[in-house]
């Protein structure tokens, strides 16, 4: 491991943390344009975080320490996850210690802290949100694992950088198995990041919320961290998608650190396209009835299994 690898490693995490709010700002801009509205500033999420960090935190009297530490844990977990996703380069020192399955575990840990904190104060909305979040989670996780298994079957490894290396060095274009999993992955991404059609991040209706209901009791810096963590999660998911399906532009081992010169703008372009694509999906769809979310994620799981079967039957 050279010093340049460590620099890449640190750069990836810092870039993810720094750019995640801009990604959400871009997504919101695209949504506004598609709805014929004048768009808010790209920097609005940053201003919002800035505002929240300066406010005085109000915490319910009966909140336990868990409620206070959860935002830090959730934010930390998402930051760590950013470190093991090869968004710019594949030569990452941290990768040896965590593969894609550990990554799913990291997301699960964040979810656990988040739902526990949501139930901590004991309001009806927090519990309701936590309940729905667990329903989404237990259906989304297997689908995500299936997607990862398809990719790891192809490259014979569960480490994301290895998968990325393999795909980046191979032919351009998706294998049929991966194409199925890519669709499955998009469904999981929408569900896991509380986007329409599964959840509505813009709603003010408490009774319909999932993610928002869980953070209703948070304020100031805690809320800022929770929101930042959610933005980071979206960033991470999109980068996982790139790593598995569109690794082009990533600085691979044989290109070396020079590749970063290409990788950084390539990532920015890919993120912009993905954000615009998400905005299109969100604008075109309506929110599903909560009771139909299992169908939605069941479809994702089925597609991922189909991807696996197609891969096994067709061979590589």
């Amino acid at each position: 491991m050279s010093a340049i690898d460590w620099i890449t490693q640190v750069l990836e995490v810092v870039a993810a943390v720094a750019a995640a709010p801009a990604l959400l700002g871009w997504l919101n801009q695209c949504r506004a344009w598609l709805q014929n509205r004048r768009a808010p500033s790209l920097w609005l999420p940053y201003r919002n975080l800035h505002k929240l960090f300066r406010k005085e935190a109000v915490i319910a009297e009966n909140a336990s320490p868990l409620f206070r530490i959860a935002p830090y844990v959730v934010f930390g977990t998402m930051g760590l996850a950013a470190g093991i996703i090869p968004s710019m380069g594949t030569q990452l020192p941290l990768v040896g210690s965590a593969d894609a399955i550990a990554l799913v575990g990291l997301f699960a840990a964040a979810r656990m802290f988040m739902t526990l904190a949501a139930m901590d104060v004991g309001t009806a909305f927090g519990t309701m949100g936590a309940r729905r979040e667990m329903m989404v989670g237990f259906l989304a996780e297997p689908a995500l694992l299936m997607v990862i298994f398809v990719a790891s079957q192809i490259s014979s490894s569960t480490a994301l950088p290895v998968i990325t290396e393999h795909l980046a060095s191979g032919r351009l274009g998706l294998s049929p198995g991966l194409a199925f999993s890519a669709v499955a992955f998009i469904l999981v991404l929408l569900a896991e990041n509380a986007r329409i059609p599964v959840d509505n991040p813009a709603t003010h209706l408490e009774l319909t919320m999932i993610h928002e209901a869980m953070v209703l009791e948070y304020s100031a810096r805690h809320l800022a961290l929770m929101e930042w963590a959610a933005q980071l999660k979206l960033f991470n998911y999109i980068c996982i998608g790139f790593a598995l399906f569109f690794p082009w532009g990533v600085a691979t081992a044989h290109i070396g650190p020079v590749g970063l010169v290409v990788a950084i703008p390539a990532l920015a372009i890919k993120l912009a396209v993905a954000g615009a694509g998400l905005a299109v999906i969100e604008t075109l769809s309506a929110k599903l009835r909560v009771m139909r979310i299992p169908e939605f994620l069941g479809t994702a799981f089925l597609l991922a299994v189909l991807g696996l079967l197609v891969h096994v039957l067709l061979g590589t």
């Binding site: 014929n36 509505n200 209706l205 009774l207 604008t283 309506a286 929110k287 909560v290």
Partner: protein
């Protein structure tokens, strides 16, 4: 005794051709209600008048019931003896909607009905017990009165198993502001201004109903041009509210495109209204004797153009709503209020018409200009959110058609006349089909141009209890959508 006999016995109310008043004793009070119910009529309003109200000492205590029947509006007066502990026979068994009106009347006057539910309604100082639902896994979700959005305050208590709603109980009255008392402190010729503010989204309907009652008492007919212009205002109000609701309903199913488009159309309309009348929401345009502002031919033409453009675009958006699978899936079957239940609960107005209750004052008991411009009533029979959306789309089209006709054929003449002060004790009733349903104003004059008693009545009284039934068996996250599809007034019933 069939309803016809009561109707024949009742006295006509001056200046209100569709209204008759009937004084009854305690023994006939229930019988009239039964006969009205048997003839397919509904209880529209129930209120009290007694010494405790206003500065004017009224010796008797009178319970008023207003029934909407096929022949007209029957106002039944039950005069109670002076004994303080007296109760009057409750109507809940015949008209379920009476329960809350009786409880509200009790809070305001201290006189109880004989019905079992003695809990307060408007008075929040007295203790209140919600109905508990017992059973394995049943828990309660308390929502409000303060909500996350900028909406009126109301408390909703859900008893749920998982996501399924077993029971909803509403608790309103958070915006009680003593409106009826406030009326008694106003000159009768100024009351229309307060009436317009009972429920701000129905400013035209309330102020017209108030003026109709006042003009009837004074025996002063308004000129045709004034009636035409009032109808223009009423249809504009209907159009603006329906557009706002259609957008909000889209937003509530996560279809923000609908909200932005309908908000734009509503804004276009409101700006056109402001250009012509100087008010976006038409407060204080309807005044005793006519309308406050005359409309020039050029302004009428410009307004008609905007209305036509808005209606054309609404048709396009209707196609999008109808063909969008996700939106259709959320609307269809949600919050179903079956026609039989709607009839039993006496549901009226827009919500009633979406559940097969074909009642519209503009059609059933028309006044000028609706006598000359027949309205095509929009009725749906499924009673779900989709039906209430369809009724709104249908009424946008119909109001657009009416507005085009009204604006192209405004009669010549004066737009307002002077209205004199009515005699002490004179009684008048106004009934106007607002966008939400029929709005009733009962007005009694006091000495030298004062108001003895004024009761503004919103159709939401009937329809709030129906919402509790519509949500049963649905899932919790569908409640905001179902609630929005009813879009009832809080201020209008909290008084």
């Amino acid at each position: 005794m069939p309803l016809r006999r009561w109707w024949d016995r009742a006295q006509p109310v001056t200046g209100a051709p569709h209204v008759r008043g009937l004084g009854v004793g305690t023994e006939d009070w229930l019988q009239v209600a039964r006969d009205v119910a048997a003839a397919g009529g509904v209880l529209h309003a129930l209120w009290m008048s007694c010494a405790a109200m206003g500065d004017h000492a009224v010796q008797e205590r009178i319970v008023y019931g207003a029934y909407l029947t096929d022949t007209g509006v029957l106002i039944v007066e039950l005069t109670l003896p002076a004994a303080a502990t007296q109760t009057y026979p409750g109507l809940e068994g015949i008209f379920p909607a009476a329960a809350r009106m009786q409880r509200a009347a009790h809070d305001l006057s201290g006189i109880r009905s004989s019905d079992p539910d003695a809990r307060p309604w408007l008075n929040h100082d007295r203790p209140y017990e919600f109905v508990r639902v017992d059973g394995e896994g049943v828990h309660e979700i308390a929502v409000g009165p303060v909500h996350a959005g900028t909406i009126e305050p109301g408390h909703f208590r859900f008893s749920v198993v998982g996501e399924k709603v077993l029971k909803l109980e509403e608790r309103l009255g958070y915006t009680h502001k003593g409106l009826e008392q406030r009326f008694t402190a106003l000159p009768i010729l100024q009351g229309h201004r307060l009436a317009a503010r009972v429920s701000g989204d129905s400013a035209v309907a309330y102020s017209w109903a108030y003026c109709q009652a006042l003009e009837g008492m004074s025996g002063r007919a308004i000129p045709p041009r004034a009636a035409w212009l009032r109808a223009v205002c009423l249809e504009l109000e209907r159009l603006a509210n329906h557009l706002g609701d259609l957008g909000a309903l889209g937003n509530d199913v996560g279809f923000a495109f609908g909200l932005t488009q309908f908000s734009r159309l509503k804004e276009d309309l409101l700006r056109a209204m402001a250009a012509v009348f100087g008010e976006r929401y038409l407060f204080d345009i309807i005044v005793p004797g006519g309308v406050a502002i005359d409309v020039s031919a050029a302004a009428a033409g410009a307004l008609a153009d905007v209305v036509r453009a808005v209606c054309t675009e609404t048709e396009e958006l209707r196609d999008i709503y109808d063909e969008h699978e996700g939106v259709r899936d959320r609307f269809t079957g949600a919050g179903r209020l079956e026609p039989e239940r709607a009839a039993r609960l006496g549901v009226i107005g827009l919500v009633g018409r979406a559940s097969g209750q074909a009642r519209d004052v503009r059609v059933d008991l028309p006044d000028a200009p609706y006598t000359e411009l027949p309205v095509a009533m929009v009725v749906e029979h499924d009673g779900d959110v989709a039906s209430r959306v369809a009724v709104r789309f249908g009424e946008v089209r119909e109001s657009g058609r009416l507005l085009t006709s009204l604006l192209s054929a405004l009669p010549d003449g004066m737009h307002a006349v002077e209205v004199g002060v009515p005699a002490d004790g004179a009684f008048g009733v106004g009934l106007i089909e607002g966008w939400r349903g029929p709005v009733l104003v009962a007005l009694q004059a006091g000495p030298s141009g004062s108001i003895r008693r004024c009761h503004p009545h919103d159709p939401s009284w009937q329809n709030w209890p129906a919402l509790e039934y519509a949500i049963m068996g649905n899932i919790v996250p569908d409640f905001p959508l179902i609630n929005k599809s009813f879009n009832l007034s809080y201020s209008g019933v909290d008084l």
